[in-house]
């Protein structure tokens, strides 16, 4: 089993929807795109396969790592509703990337709070590798 990638950050957070500040930026966070991560996501999960370039499924993981760091943990009870990924440049396996995230938008629809978290990933040579946005149903604050 893989070890926790961000042991210094709590597992979960209870950041309230009302406390999300649109436009606030987090990071950049340096993350290693190691062979173990890349190989785990190249084929069906549970069937590792080796290669030299990070497969596309690495990027949602990099987002989750950045989200956890930005929010002091994964928002407990949050649900992913939508996501967009735009690919610009390949990332080598066994290289570092820098992941930045920011709150792009937040709104309430049908009494459900949604947060749009944007992020980008830059390679160790500074080139933009990917931009993305995730629409998350934010957990209700505990009463």
């Amino acid at each position: 089993m893989d070890t926790d990638p961000t042991p210094e950050t709590p597992l979960l957070s209870n950041v309230a929807f009302d406390d999300l500040e649109v436009g606030r930026r987090y990071g950049p966070y340096t993350e290693r795109v190691g062979a173990r991560l890349a190989d785990s996501l190249r084929e069906r999960i549970g069937e590792p396969s080796s290669g030299t370039v990070a497969p596309p499924a690495v990027f949602p993981v990099l987002f989750l790592k950045a989200l956890r760091r930005a929010m002091g943990g994964i928002p407990s009870g949050s649900i992913l509703a939508k996501q967009e990924l735009e690919f610009y440049a390949p990332v080598r396996v066994d290289s570092d990337v820098e992941v930045s995230a920011w709150v792009g938008e937040k709104y309430v629809r049908r009494d459900r709070p949604y947060a749009v978290i944007e992020f980008d990933v830059r390679r160790d040579d500074g080139e933009l590798a990917l931009t993305g946005r995730k629409v998350i149903v934010w957990p209700e604050a505990e009463r």
Binding site: M1, G46, P56, S78, A81
Partner: protein, 136 residues
């Protein structure tokens, strides 16, 4: 004309063990995914898989189709998560008709469970994707 790219069949059985593995890999230990007791008390009634687990079938199919390790620069993938995926489900990704106005680079796909429920809808632009055009 409608564009319907060929995507090789990719199936992903989903188990709680696989969900736990993804949680370790990503650091996302949201109790909706990994805590059956917590999840039982939510409207879902059970744990649900991380969204990217179902999406994995599309990424694998798309990269297999292109013969590349990742998607080429200029690719854009838009994903809507429509229904939860639970332990015991098996996810299959299939290409669907991209519609009359679609270009050769546009790909539409769905990830479905064994009973046909669409859990993920994907609209993608993948430059150079092998598309199969069929006359209506």
């Amino acid at each position: 004309m409608s564009a319907r790219p060929d995507l090789p069949p990719v199936r992903q059985p989903v188990t709680q063990e696989l969900i736990d593995r993804y949680a370790e890999l990503s650091g996302d230990h949201n109790p909706l995914h990994v805590d059956p007791d917590y999840a039982a008390g939510t409207p879902f009634g059970s744990t649900i898989a991380h969204g990217p687990i179902a999406l994995q079938t599309f990424f694998v199919a798309a990269t297999r189709a292109s013969g590349a390790e990742t998607l080429p620069p200029g690719s854009k993938v838009s994903v809507t998560y429509r229904s939860p995926v639970r332990p015991g489900d098996e996810i299959t990704c299939v290409a669907v008709d991209a519609g009359e106005e679609a270009s050769g680079d546009e790909v539409r796909a769905e990830c479905r469970t064994g009973d046909g429920t669409v859990v993920v809808s994907i609209a993608a632009r993948i430059p150079g994707s092998p598309s199969q055009r069929s006359k209506r």
